[in-house]
């Protein structure tokens, strides 16, 4: 999200599941799709079977994905950036980049301001007291014509590409080996495979998931891959892309609809306190092109914003009241999970609604979450299952130590039905919005989440209507036009997201001709308007439900080119485009880079191919409009200007808990702008007491904290365990199946030991370093064996851009122990 948008313009999987089969090289790093996405992994199998693809896995553990790989290399958790900057250095110094692509479609030739520097681990503008950068200097030189200056010859040392070369120069194979522990020969072998795709003939796909996001520099991990794929020319082509694999069936959907605490649906911005007026908000969102003639599609921002406000507030949103801009809350600071838990812990939160989130198990530092929940006045849990969160107040011995008598929190459980018991849509990783039908009635008194939320809203609304209050307007004026207000249908909501025409829209050429009739569904986001005559709850979804019907119900398996482009299966945002930035599959003149990778090409009068062009369909190649139409530059960004908080180039920072110093810049060990709450500084452990590197992850047999309640899953993987390298087990006299105690600065757990060759003892800075792996999934509720919460151990620090907790890299100690009280010893 937070790195793809600054690089390419949109924050989503750029290609899609079926397209993985078109890859020649599949690099799995920062994810473990065989384990966490076994069904999607079939496309990797297809690529191997029918495209002779090579599968490369880079992971601290030899995973289930690695089990079927052609090449595997280990690395220390939290050092992906060093590895990937090393790969970039390799292809830059060996001239393996796709130069023509890089010059034409990235900002390689753009000239950066003299003021921008990188020294001693810091970029220009760092303020230590604020732990933040002033990012003004991270910008292009702007010419007198108002456009960014470029040097197509790349002679200027201030060109982005030259700055990048200088930046990555430090990441030699030796440095990579020293920091990551990846043997040099394996590293170089991987470099060769990767480099084999920098030519337009072959393509590499990158598959990643939370193995990259859950770090204090998570966004920059992904950013490295985005840059690498641009240097290789692997963006916009079949079998290429940077592909975020989503861990829940509908995570893409919830993200599209405003999951991020500072975003509105469709990645519009939720205003901050600094934007008191509508004019303030729009002022920074004009998105004037930075190069002549560029699309800069976000120039349409206001159309989408106004249409959103009309969808939200209907007639209460007028031009006169700035489309009810005052109804929107203005944020002071992002309210991500860590922030919410910290606020609870500080005793500053009265109530909490946990909907589909088992926060006690899922939050980092379980001990803090437990204390936080106990300080709430009330807690509402909306979930189809019994969760630990709903029972946080129960004492379960060492699995959940709490003095129940002291807890004053009132807990209300609202049973939701499961997804198969309601209709609606899923949006998958590949942005495909697919309708699902109801298969059965929910159990007992359960209701759909939609009905539960509607029930809460209609009651609150009645209270506000009756009693007034400080500012009842946004609630009583919320547009709520459903046949049954207490139970809207998913069909009605999807239409609302798509949007309606409010007044007849006439043809500007011929006022007698009506282009769109009032009351009809908007055909696509191109028809949205800033004058209040259209609505759209989520502009990127527009087109999913039109007068022709519910497009998300389509299930055609026609794939005319055999490239896995099922144009009439579901509806893919935006505008049913399967591969984003697909115009980049052809060179500047519109000719495909190769016949093998032919996708969208210019036929003399228009852009054609199996997909919807991500480009003006009749814009001539000579017009030099860049393929990255969302960016004001028209091209993609190797240098992200000020769009990421922690730097326009990635840099290796150690995890907040690391066994070694940062050998590149000792004074700036870890991400200098990652947010740490005051109380948590003292809760970071050091290697003297916690000498081993730990990481956490999912297992195929389970899905988060749900399936431990299900008998078959519990049979297949019954009990919490930790994976230990053989050398560590030997040192400590631990055998397979023994009980071990794993502790971090924040707490300790007990679990079984799996002693394995698959967890490495790496040589880091010349010293042997053991890596310990601990799956999540277990707790004190369910059918599987009662277990400790793995997140008892994890640190309370998040990514600098989106605050995703650093679940993937921290320090622990390991000791042999005996069974926890209450657990039978076997």
């Amino acid at each position: 999200m937070a790195s793809l948008a600054p690089t390419f313009g949109r924050g989503a999987m750029t290609n899609h599941w079926n397209d993985i089969k078109n890859a020649d090289v599949i690099l799995v790093m920062g994810g473990n799709p065989a384990e966490a996405h076994p069904c999607g992994f079939k496309w990797v199998t297809e690529a191997k079977a029918h495209n002779k693809a090579k599968l490369i896995v880079v992971d601290p553990r030899f995973t289930r994905s690695a089990a079927v790989s052609d090449l595997y290399a280990p690395l220390r958790p939290g050092t992906d950036i060093a590895f990937l900057l090393g790969v970039m250095r390799h292809i830059l110094t060996n001239d393996k980049i796709h130069t023509e692509y890089v010059k034409a479609f990235t900002n390689a030739t753009f000239i950066v301001r003299e003021g921008f520097k990188f020294e001693n681990g810091l970029f220009t503008g760092y303020d230590e007291t604020k732990r933040d950068y002033a990012r003004g200097e991270w910008e292009y030189e702007i010419g007198e014509d108002g456009f960014a200056k470029v040097d197509p010859t790349l002679a200027n040392p201030r060109c982005v590409l030259n700055l990048l070369k200088a930046h990555v120069e430090r990441y030699t194979p030796e440095t990579v080996e020293k920091i990551c522990g990846t043997p040099k020969d394996k590293f170089l072998k991987i470099c060769e495979h990767v480099a084999s795709t920098g030519n337009g003939e072959r393509s590499m796909t990158s598959l990643y998931a939370l193995g990259w996001t859950q770090h204090s520099h998570g966004a920059q991990n992904i950013r490295c891959m985005a840059m690498l794929q641009l240097l290789l020319g692997n963006m916009g082509v079949p079998g290429g892309g940077v592909n975020a694999l989503r861990g829940h069936a509908n995570v893409q959907g919830i993200t599209d609809l405003g999951l991020l605490t500072t975003a509105l649906p469709g990645y519009l911005a939720l205003p901050s306190q600094a934007e008191a007026t509508y004019a303030d908000h729009m002022k920074t969102r004009r998105f004037k092109p930075l190069r002549p003639g560029q699309t800069s599609f976000w120039q349409n921002y206001e159309k989408f914003f106004v249409s959103f406000q009309k969808a939200m507030f209907g007639q209460a949103a007028t031009k006169e009241n700035d489309w009810a801009y005052d109804y929107l809350p203005k944020w002071d600071t992002p309210y991500d999970v860590l922030k919410i838990v910290d606020t609870m812990y500080e005793g500053k939160l009265n109530g909490c609604i946990a909907q589909g989130l088992n926060v006690l198990m899922a939050s980092a530092h379980k001990g803090k979450a437990l204390q936080g929940l106990a300080k709430l006045k009330w807690l509402v849990v909306i979930d189809p299952l019994e969760t630990e969160t709903a029972r946080f107040w129960e004492n379960h011995g060492e699995f959940n130590e709490i003095d129940s008598a002291k807890v004053q929190t009132e807990v209300i459980q609202l049973p939701a039905c499961t997804v198969a018991e309601e209709e609606g849509t899923f949006t998958n990783s590949g942005r495909n919005i697919q309708w699902h039908w109801k298969a059965a009635n929910g159990a007992g008194e359960s209701r759909s989440d939609l009905e539960i939320m509607a029930g809460i809203h209609t009651r609150l609304r009645a209270l506000y209507a009756k009693e007034g209050g400080a500012f009842p307007d946004p609630i009583v004026n919320l547009s709520w036009n459903y046949a049954r207000p207490e139970a809207p249908s998913a069909d009605e909501v999807l239409r609302e997201l798509n949007g309606y025409v409010l007044e007849d829209v006439k043809d500007p050429q011929d006022p007698n001709k009506v282009l769109m009739r009032a009351g009809t569904l908007v055909p696509g986001f191109g028809a949205l308007r800033a004058d209040g005559t259209t609505t759209s709850g989520c502009w990127i979804y527009t087109g999913c439900y039109t007068e022709a019907g519910n497009m998300t119900m389509r299930r055609s398996t026609d794939d005319p080119t055999g490239l896995g482009v099922y144009q009439n299966w579901g509806f893919v945002w935006p505008a049913n485009r399967r591969i984003l930035y697909n115009r980049a599959s052809a060179d500047a003149s519109g000719k495909p880079w190769s016949t093998r990778k032919k996708y969208i090409a210019w036929n003399g009068s228009r852009w054609t191919g199996p997909d919807v062009p991500d480009y003006g369909p009749t814009v001539k190649p000579e017009a030099s409009v860049g393929p990255f139409i969302m960016n004001p530059e028209g091209v993609s960004r190797l240098f992200t200007r000020g769009l990421m908080r922690d730097g326009p180039f990635p840099e290796h920072y150690e995890p907040f808990e690391s066994p070694v110093a940062n050998s590149l810049h000792e004074k700036v060990a870890s991400n200098p702008v990652a947010r740490v709450f005051k109380e948590d500084w003292k809760e970071f452990g050091k290697a003297d007491k916690f000498p081993y590197v730990a990481t956490t992850y999912r297992l195929t047999e389970h899905f988060h904290y749900w399936t431990k309640t299900h008998l078959i899953n519990a049979i297949l993987q019954p009990e919490l365990f930790a994976e230990l390298p053989e050398a560590l087990a030997k040192e400590k006299g631990i055998g397979p199946g023994d009980w071990v105690r794993i502790s971090s600065a924040r707490g300790a757990i007990k679990c079984k030991a799996v002693v394995t060759k698959r967890l490495p003892t790496l040589t880091i800075h010349g010293k042997p370093t053991h890596v310990v792996g601990i799956p999540i999934h277990y707790g004190f509720v369910g059918t599987a064996r009662k277990g400790h919460a793995t997140n008892t151990l994890t640190p309370f620090v998040g990514d600098a851009n989106v605050n995703t907790p650093e679940y993937k890299a921290f320090l622990v100690n390991v000791e042999k122990t005996t069974a926890p009280a209450g657990a039978p010893s076997v």
């Binding site: 384990e35 076994p38 069904c39 049979i715 993987q717 009990e719 698959r758 059918t783 076997v826």
Partner: protein, 296 residues
């Protein structure tokens, strides 16, 4: 589990009458398990439990990924995980264990209860519970250590190759569930042809000894494996290199069983019983010697 009228029986345990064979043109089927494509997700195991209504008790972690720890009356298939250090390159070999549906089934040959084990014309070997007397001879007769006797009802259980599904033209539940198509199902000929393609691919990827596991010692099997290291099947959690039925079982079966009163028959029976109670069901030199003596 039960005999299926739509599937003709080719062989029946402890029975000498000729089987019906008017529908003798049934196609021989096979399940091909491509170990090189398996990700060990256990979807096949879950599907087996679902389809056959089996529920094991929730077990423990014993220090490995194999769960439950072993085959049982309620676990007819099980993923067995082996870590193999191949000259500095780690491999994680994941084999789906279960009945191999031998063309020449040791279990059936060893079984003294008439009609407790049958082989259908299509090659599937099935246990018929109502005829099973729970003696456990099948366990010993099996070169793959597959059948398990239930403590609850004293009957033998193992994979049926979803004979009920196959009888109505469906693939086994495991094959249907496998996300990576590591499990193929079809005619034995087609499966061999498909395996050959896979072996070419594996050889190209550097597995010089990739090959098909269809052991001749048991007349071939209706469950076959594609292995990266076909020269070393033992690497895969002890898959036997040259499985064969003990010659004692052969003797017990080979025409001698109905003539149990003849001296040679008696010797065979004694030898066989020794073999049955002795322990592991690998065929030892000693057993073969004993068989040779009896036969002489």
């Amino acid at each position: 589990m039960a005999t299926l009228q739509s599937l003709d029986i080719k062989r029946r345990s402890a029975t000498t009458e000729p089987p019906p064979h008017v529908r003798g043109n049934a196609i021989e089927v096979a399940k091909l398990i491509d170990v090189s494509k398996c990700i060990g997700c256990k979807a096949c195991q879950a599907a087996c439990l679902e389809w056959n209504d089996l529920r094991e008790e929730v077990g423990y972690n014993t220090g490995v990924y194999d769960n439950p720890a072993d085959l049982s009356p309620a676990t007819w298939t099980l993923m067995r995980f082996t870590e193999f250090d191949n000259k500095g390159n780690l491999e994680w070999l994941i084999r789906k264990d279960g009945c191999m549906h031998c063309e020449d089934p040791g279990c059936l040959k060893a079984c003294p209860a008439p009609g407790a084990i049958v082989q259908y014309q299509n090659g599937i070997v099935d246990f018929v519970s109502e005829n099973c007397i729970g003696c456990g001879y099948c366990v010993k007769g099996c070169p793959f250590n597959i059948p398990r006797i239930s403590q609850a009802d004293n009957k033998a259980y193992k994979c049926t190759l979803c004979s009920d599904r196959v009888a109505v033209g469906q693939a086994p539940a495991c094959a249907k569930a496998c996300p990576t198509q590591a499990i193929y199902f079809g005619s034995k000929d087609d499966m061999i042809a498909h395996a050959e393609e896979r072996i070419v691919d594996l050889k190209e990827r550097g597995y010089a000894n990739a090959g098909l596991y269809d052991p001749k010692g048991v007349g071939g099997t209706h469950v076959m494996y594609v292995l990266h290291h076909a020269d070393q099947p033992e690497l895969y959690a002890g898959l036997p290199n040259e499985p064969r039925i003990s010659r004692l079982v052969e003797l017990w079966k080979g025409g001698t069983k109905p003539l149990a009163l003849a001296g040679i028959g008696l010797a065979a029976v004694v030898g066989f019983f020794h073999y049955i109670v002795k322990g592991p069901n690998e065929v030892t030199e000693e057993d073969d010697e004993r068989a040779d003596q009896i036969n002489r």
